[in-house]
């Protein structure tokens, strides 16, 4: 089966050029260099049709940047993202527009991703009309159908975003994405801002929509409980690199990479017993100055000499299971 999304060797670097004063200072001999942030570094990932891939990582690990590149909001510095086999950056004209429509994105904060001065019917109905999916006459009925699909009362289509609660706004964001009939949704922390009881409603909606419309998701989240519940496969990111990847159950029952193990052991779960928190040392390093070798080695309890020099490759350790850790070679 051909993957729906194929991420091949993708990197993204953000470079801050020197301003005039800094260039003069540099010419005069001050040791100023331009700053480069390695947000995403050499990531390979494939997503099969109708699959939910959970992408987990802490803030600053590059998971949102990767999601934005998949959704076509950013172009990779290196590598290619293929949608159904076509390199999205190489497509031109009509083919490019169609591919772009098929991949939609849902954002964390619906208040800042919905235009506050547009009515819901414009927010949801504008794109399908512009792209010729519905005529102007059909638009009203189409919007009502979309709102109905995401569990909103169609009578509310004349309202503005501020007249809705957080959970309802997220549903509007989902309706807007669905309105252009996508195959693939990038959900970037789509339930992170919602209260637990509302979060459960929206997660259930995501699962129902996937069944109903054959959707594939890239589900980006820092919440391991949410990811475990909704994903078929999980990829763990640390400082721009994927450190482990595999089927959800395999990862959650037997994590291979020390970082995944640490994340899982520190995840707060509802328990009746008080527990002592054990911690991994230190904090995530700056992506402007990532440590050499394995990015996790300064915090890793098992690090040895090789980890400080050589970057571990993401290698298959079991069928469908990959991990980037030198310990797997030693064993």
């Amino acid at each position: 089966m051909t993957p729906i999304i194929d991420i091949a060797g993708v990197s993204k670097r953000f470079v801050r050029e020197l301003d005039t004063a800094e260039r003069i200072a540099k010419a005069l001999g001050a040791g100023i260099e331009k700053q480069t942030v390695h947000a995403v570094e050499q990531v390979d990932l494939t997503i099969k049709p109708r699959e939910v891939l959970g992408l987990v990582g802490e803030s600053g690990c590059g998971k949102s940047t990767l999601g934005r590149m998949v959704a076509g909001l950013m172009t990779p510095t290196e590598g290619a993202i293929r949608f159904r086999g076509d390199d999205m950056a190489a497509l031109k004209g009509k083919a490019a527009r169609e591919a772009a429509l098929k991949v939609q994105m849902i954002f964390q904060d619906p208040m800042s991703s919905l235009n506050p001065r547009m009515r819901v019917e414009t927010i949801v109905g504008e794109a399908p009309q512009v792209h010729g999916l519905v005529s102007r006459r059909q638009r009203g009925a189409y919007v009502e159908e979309m709102l109905h699909r995401v569990g909103l009362d169609p009578a509310m289509r004349r309202r503005y975003p501020h007249q809705f609660s957080g959970g309802q706004r997220q549903r509007i964001g989902i309706a807007r994405a669905l309105a252009v009939r996508p195959d693939f949704l990038v959900c970037d922390e789509a339930v992170a801002a919602l209260d637990v009881s509302i979060q459960a409603q929206v997660l259930n909606l995501f699962m129902r929509l996937r069944e109903a419309y054959d959707l594939t998701y890239l589900f980006i989240s820092h919440d391991l409980g949410v990811v475990e519940h909704i994903s078929d496969r999980v990829a763990i990111m640390y400082l721009g690199r994927i450190v482990e990847e595999g089927a959800t159950e395999a990862i959650f029952t037997g994590a291979n990479h020390p970082y995944t193990q640490a994340l899982l052991s520190e995840r707060p779960v509802i328990s009746t017993a008080k527990r002592r928190f054990t911690t991994i040392e230190g904090e995530i390093p700056s992506p402007m100055k990532p440590p050499p070798g394995c990015h996790f080695h300064p915090r890793c309890p098992h690090a040895f000499a090789r980890c400080r020099i050589e970057r571990p490759a993401l290698k298959q350790i079991a069928p469908g299971r990959k991990s980037a850790c030198h310990l797997n070679d030693a064993a």
């Binding site: 802490e58 637990v196 009881s197 259930n204 707060p268 779960v269 002592r276 928190f277």
Partner: protein, 330 residues
């Protein structure tokens, strides 16, 4: 039994807005013993933060404490004048906020801010105060305190800033610390570090803690007792194990059930229908009635808190009494 450290009785804090009276906190009562950790849980708008602010009398207009008593060692904070309050804030009750970037002054160095906090309540010399600052920074696990003291807040990462805020809260070894969502903005690994630090400090100094959070998972691991708030009222409170194992109130039960890790993978999550009501326009009687499967005519009169099991209180006419919950299949 010794007298409780903090006793909140029938506290009501209302906001008098143009759109009407918002009863953010209504008839809230709880007690806290010395060294105890109370988790105050609720969704946004449930009044948990306003409860915390009310204890320190930090509610601004149009909000006002309209009734109730807040007894700290028998002294009523609700009727205290500004001068006496100032002697208590930071000294006997300290507060930790969600976002330390908003509470630390961005243009002052950490040492300036901390020495100021020490000298506000003691007559220590500058050098003695500095020594105290070093001590507490080391206590919260900050390496090389000297270097850190000379930095500005923006030099720190989020986790580090929160450690500084916690250090400031512990400066005077207060009787009580009120922490309002202090780890919500932090990553999981950093959150675990902070929780470990707080757990250790409270056990070591005998400081009582009110931990306000929307995250039942964090609270259940940390607190001795939990109080669950909904629409301005405490709907259930009890010891952590009892409350998680056998919740009385349908809302508590729904909240625990809707957490993804307590549900089987691949099947829909058990969800609470509907959404929280606006506190400007609360339904008649029990505020949870419109979302509750057990609601009936009796629920049109407001339920009073009743002790359905020893030490476990709920405001509900139809509590889950009989069933002992079975664990969710893994």
């Amino acid at each position: 039994m010794t007298a409780p450290l903090l006793q909140v009785e029938n506290l009501a804090t209302h906001f008098f807005t143009r759109n009407g009276v918002a009863k953010a906190v209504d008839d809230v009562s709880f007690t806290l013993s010395r060294g105890e950790i109370l988790g105050l849980v609720g969704e946004s708008g449930s009044g948990k933060s306003v409860t915390g602010f009310s204890i320190l009398r930090l509610v601004d207009a149009p909000g006002r404490i309209v009734s109730g008593r807040i007894l700290l060692n028998g002294e009523d904070l609700a009727s205290l004048d500004a001068e006496h309050l100032r002697a208590i804030r930071g000294k006997r009750i300290a507060m930790i906020f969600q976002d330390p970037m908003m509470t630390l002054n961005p243009v002052l160095r950490i040492d300036t801010q901390m020495i100021e906090a020490v000298q506000a309540h003691t007559s220590l010399s500058r050098s003695a105060a500095l020594e105290r600052c070093r001590e507490v920074l080391a206590m919260v696990g900050i390496a090389s305190p000297d270097e850190r003291l000379a930095s500005y807040p923006h030099h720190f990462s989020g986790g580090m800033r929160q450690r500084v805020a916690i250090a400031i809260a512990f400066l005077h070894e207060p009787d009580l610390i009120i922490a309002d969502e202090p780890t919500t903005a932090l990553d999981v690994t950093i959150q675990a570090q902070i929780l470990a630090e707080v757990q250790k400090l409270c056990a070591g100094t005998g400081t009582a803690l009110i931990w306000i959070s929307h995250d039942l998972a964090v609270v259940s691991a940390l607190a001795d007792r939990i109080a669950v708030m909904y629409a301005g009222r405490i709907v259930e409170q009890g010891r952590t194990a009892a409350l998680i194992e056998a919740p009385l109130h349908p809302y508590t039960r729904g909240l625990i059930d809707s957490v993804p890790s307590r549900n089987k993978r691949g099947v829909p999550l058990r969800q609470i229908a509907g959404m929280a009501p606006s506190i400007l326009n609360l339904p008649k009687g029990c505020a949870f009635r419109p979302r509750c499967a057990r609601g009936d005519g009796a629920c049109l009169t407001p339920p009073q808190a009743a002790e359905h099991r020893p030490g476990q209180w709920a405001r509900c006419f139809h509590p889950h009494l009989a069933e002992i919950r079975s664990e969710v299949p893994a």
